[in-house]
């Protein structure tokens, strides 16, 4: 149904002047397409605003290119290249499995048999499968043996299959770990299969898939191994797979569950017993190398599996005891990998064009604009970032690229029935949503669940990310969100004539304070929700040494993120990981024991529950969210304090501040932050304006702020459902100004930037960008202040 024929991505988010950036394009149909590098200024096409603003850049790659289709081979699996040890005459296959979609809807995008352990293709070879009826199945060439018993989803099962070439006997075992009272027994099944096993050269041994074809078509080159197309991607966990070169009896299979035992003292062999050690072909231990993309083989041949498309690791295994919840402390209980048919780590497309970014190219938002003569169009955004030491401005905009990755290609409008209780209206799907709804191979966002319903906790930037696009209204707000919403800020900076650099979350995460310290002021995006620890460290260090931070949005500094170390060879920040743990706004919830990141090993979830309160970074933190319409602010008496009154020069005390805008129709909306000195806001923080009392029933208090459900949590009732614009000083002449609403930036360009939100923001930026420390506060501002302790109005009135 979708008309999108052009999609693409770049090898980098941020590129330095003087360096090259590569672009990868899928042009599905048109014979050619045109490339124009654009300096992006505004991406919102709302007819009440300035419209799309982009400036053509004189780039050496601007040209017309021959179109070619490129596809993503999504779905995770592990494989070992074909070799003589895998070309077995007899065998035993065994593993534990926890399937999540053993039987799929006939219209499901990858309906059909799923491979568990296979060296099978086109009716040749051997393999253990779940067939399309949801039964465990052994395949030997074209012969199929099934238990005839539907396998229970979301439950552990031990499965095994043997084949003895001499006798021709094949045997299949399916043994659920839990048998409920009324579960029928599942006896093993046997069948005579003569003629032995036929092998196809170069068909790899696979875990969680099987080989569909060895294909010379160029589209197969982006598969791994190149030219080998996988199919039958399995959804679910696999634990302790073993492959032996003879048919073991049931007792031997039981012993082989122990696998290779390289840790035994005085050992003389690799197996659990001497005789069994002689027949091990592979004994894989997924509890080893959890932070890698290797499935380690502890057997004698070291046939490590290459893991493709980054499945989820650090997953509890069949033997999880519930005593340790950090995989690093009990690795043997984390021997499972959860594979998904929509995992994607890298589209692996061929390069279509490159841009050699000239020295001296302005640091800004850019995009490669792709068009065809038929009206097809796509944009590939990227940022030109100056090298450290070569900053070109006093102002830096910190582009929230981790948050962009977290929201990358979200499917909520489709999967979640529109999440209508959240957005409080019927969602509107854009062309990008329609394309993604039928192209699951493009992967989802960290807000989605996988196609099997499990939480999606890893997101790659090496794929087309259709949500990071101009002209894209997000279903959550029926307005720009993230990338196009941040362009509202860029539009304002450009219109007002400010000179600025752009830096990304990646840059700050990898370079720390060095990336920030040469700027007088750092400006955030509208929704920098997802952050690494090193990024937060850098921001704290920056403001403590006198840096100024303008926090332009809300719901920031919320989730723990880390970049997966195994993709560093492809560039910085290729895959980001987060886990949704016991609190916070969670579109899915991690299972018990699965809170620690597979890449960094750190505890995931909210920074708040790592003891790092979000309110401590810029003064305010998330209080509530709602996605129907936005509202506006009124000044408080604290705005008249000499410490901050300068921010309101030109704004009357009784003015409605921000009762206009391109996100919800007001500056206070979508997600809202407040001051809370018990949650990290410095005690001297001033609340200068608030939207208290003006939000709709759609706005609800965040769940981490209450312990049990009760009525009265919405915007028409609860006092914490509000946005506070706040200011506080930091040491050495630094300061933070928190605007505390995602919708805020959407009001900046209103009326050609002539409005009171623009005025307030300009007053703050003009002061914050000045050289040297900010003027000190009045002497009487220095005083002791409590966190919870203050003098309530009732006390004052009774004096």
């Amino acid at each position: 149904m979708s008309a999108m024929k052009l999609t693409g991505y770049a090898d980098q988010f941020g590129v330095n002047p003087g360096k090259k950036i590569k672009f990868y394009v899928n042009c599905d149909g048109p014979s050619e397409y045109k490339v124009e590098i654009m300096h992006m200024v505004n991406g919102d096409t709302n007819p009440r605003g300035p419209g799309l603003l982009e400036n053509l850049v004189n780039a050496d790659c601007n040209s017309t290119y021959k179109g070619r289709k490129q596809v993503i081979h999504s779905g995770s699996y592990g494989f070992v290249n074909d070799n003589k040890h895998l070309q077995l005459e007899s065998f035993t296959l065994q593993c534990w499995i926890w399937p999540t979609t053993p039987k799929t809807h006939p219209k499901y995008w990858r309906h059909g048999a799923q491979g568990l352990m296979t060296k099978w293709s086109d009716n040749k070879g051997y393999g253990l499968f779940i067939n399309e009826d949801g039964f465990v199945e052994l395949r030997i060439n074209g012969e199929k043996i099934s238990t005839g018993a539907p396998i229970r989803d979301h439950a552990w099962h031990f499965v095994a299959a043997t084949y003895d070439a001499e006798t021709g006997e094949a045997k299949l075992y399916h043994e659920p770990q839990i048998q409920y009272a009324l579960d029928p027994d599942i006896p093993s099944v046997s069948k005579k299969i003569s003629n032995g096993i036929s092998h196809t050269a170069n068909v790899p041994f696979c875990v969680a898939s099987y080989t569909k074809a060895i294909d010379s078509n160029p589209l197969a080159q982006s598969s791994v191994p190149a030219g080998i197309i996988m199919a039958g991607h399995y959804n679910g966990k696999i634990d302790n797979p073993r492959l032996c070169d003879r048919a073991l009896n049931r007792q031997e299979i039981e012993t082989m569950k122990l696998g290779a035992q390289p840790g035994l003292t005085e050992r003389r062999h690799s197996g659990p017993t001497g005789p069994l050690s002689n027949c091990i072909v592979g004994s894989w231990d997924f509890s080893s190398g959890i932070n890698t993309i290797v499935g380690h083989d502890k057997g004698p041949y070291l046939y490590d599996l290459q893991i493709v498309n980054c499945p989820t690791r650090a997953m509890t295994g069949h033997n999880f005891s519930g005593q340790n919840f950090d995989w690093k402390h009990a690795p043997t209980e984390y021997g499972a990998i959860h594979f998904h048919d929509d995992d994607v780590d890298d589209a692996r497309w061929g390069v279509d064009f490159e841009w050699s970014v000239p020295e001296g190219q302005n640091s800004a938002f850019y995009a490669a604009k792709l068009t065809t003569s038929d009206g097809d169009e796509d944009y590939i955004p990227f940022w030109v970032v100056p090298e450290i030491g070569k900053e070109t401005a006093k102002i830096a905009v910190m582009v929230p690229t981790i948050s962009y990755m977290a929201y990358a290609n979200e499917h909520l409008a489709n999967n979640a029935g529109g999440a209508e209780l959240l957005v409080y209206r019927v969602p509107i799907m854009q062309d990008q949503n329609m394309f993604l709804s039928e192209h699951r191979e493009y992967g989802g966002s960290i807000y989605d669940t996988h196609t099997d319903g499990s939480g999606l906790c890893l997101s790659s930037r090496l794929r087309p990310i259709l949500s990071i696009r101009p002209k894209y209204d997000h279903f959550l707000m029926q307005a720009p969100w993230q990338y196009p919403a941040d362009l509202h800020l860029i539009c304002w900076l450009e219109t007002m004539g400010y000179e600025y650099d752009v830096i990304t979350d990646e840059d700050v995460s990898y370079d720390g304070l060095a990336r920030l310290e040469n700027y007088n002021v750092i400006i955030t995006g509208s929704h920098p929700e997802h952050n690494t620890g090193t990024q937060l460290d850098a921001l704290h260090n920056y403001t403590q040494q006198g840096g100024r931070l303008m926090y332009m949005g809300a719901d920031a500094w919320y989730w723990v993120h880390s970049y997966h170390p195994s993709y560093e060879n492809l560039g910085r920040g290729v895959i980001t990981e987060m886990r949704r743990c016991e609190s916070g706004i969670r579109t899915w919830r991690a299972d018990p024991g699965e809170y620690y990141h597979q890449g960094s090993g750190e505890l995931g979830g909210m920074w708040r529950y790592r003891g790092r309160y979000l309110h401590s970074v810029a003064g305010t933190g998330m209080s509530s969210e709602g996605f129907d319409i936005s509202s506006y602010y009124s000044r408080t008496y604290e705005s008249n304090d000499d410490r901050v009154a300068w921010a309101f020069d030109g704004i009357e005390y009784d003015e409605k501040i921000g009762n206009f805008g391109f996100v919800g129709g007001g500056a206070a909306g979508t997600e809202l932050d407040i001051v809370d000195t018990m949650l990290g806001s410095p005690p001297h923080t001033l609340v200068v304006a608030t939207s208290a009392g003006r939000h709709t029933e759609a706005y609800l208090l965040v769940m981490e702020d209450f312990g049990f459900n009760q009525q009265g949590l919405d915007g028409t009732q609860h006092p914490r459902v509000r946005s506070d614009i706040a200011f506080h000083e930091t040491p050495n002449g630094g300061a933070c100004f928190a605007f505390s609403s995602i919708a805020y930036c959407g009001s900046l360009p209103w009326n050609n930037c002539d409005n009171n939100i623009s005025k307030l923001t300009g007053n703050v930026l003009d002061r914050f960008m000045q050289d040297g420390p900010l003027p000190p506060p009045p002497a009487d501002a220095y005083k002791h202040r409590g966190r919870a302790d203050y003098e309530p109005p009732m006390n004052k009135s009774s004096k």
């Binding site: 995008w109 979640a416 999440a419 307005a479 319409i629 919800g664 129709g665 909306g669 028409t716």
Partner: protein, 149 residues
Amino acid sequence: MISIPKKGSLERERLIAEHKACIKSMIGVPGCTILRCDTPGDTTNVSGGIHEDIVLNRVLLRMRAAMPANGKGKLVVICTEVDKSWRIGRLAGVRGVPPEFVNDTIYDNEQDPQHDIFVMRLDEMDEEDGYPEHFNEGWKRRNDNWTVT
């Protein structure tokens, strides 16, 4: 559970009229809710709608909470040309299967289809739901819980 007002009832007509008035006032707002803007297209002051009509409020909640795969499938708005045209579609309820258009009506603003979907849902939804006589096995398998993802 709140029931869907019967066809031809005065209550139903009242809900439709109030919903329509809210939607008409939202034209021009980059967002939408079922409230009346005092000044059309301006959210500075809003009233009526879900904040003052408890039946409308509850009926809308029941509609919003419906699972995508239940009934005929959930209705959505599909933008067919940015800032120019919109149509109504229906979710497949199966991952990897895109929504399909339900009719040929093309809207020139993004708010009007909200109202038509409301009326279509009034027609399509069971008048009563959620009582013991409506029990099915899905209640035990999470089909009774509105989805987030």
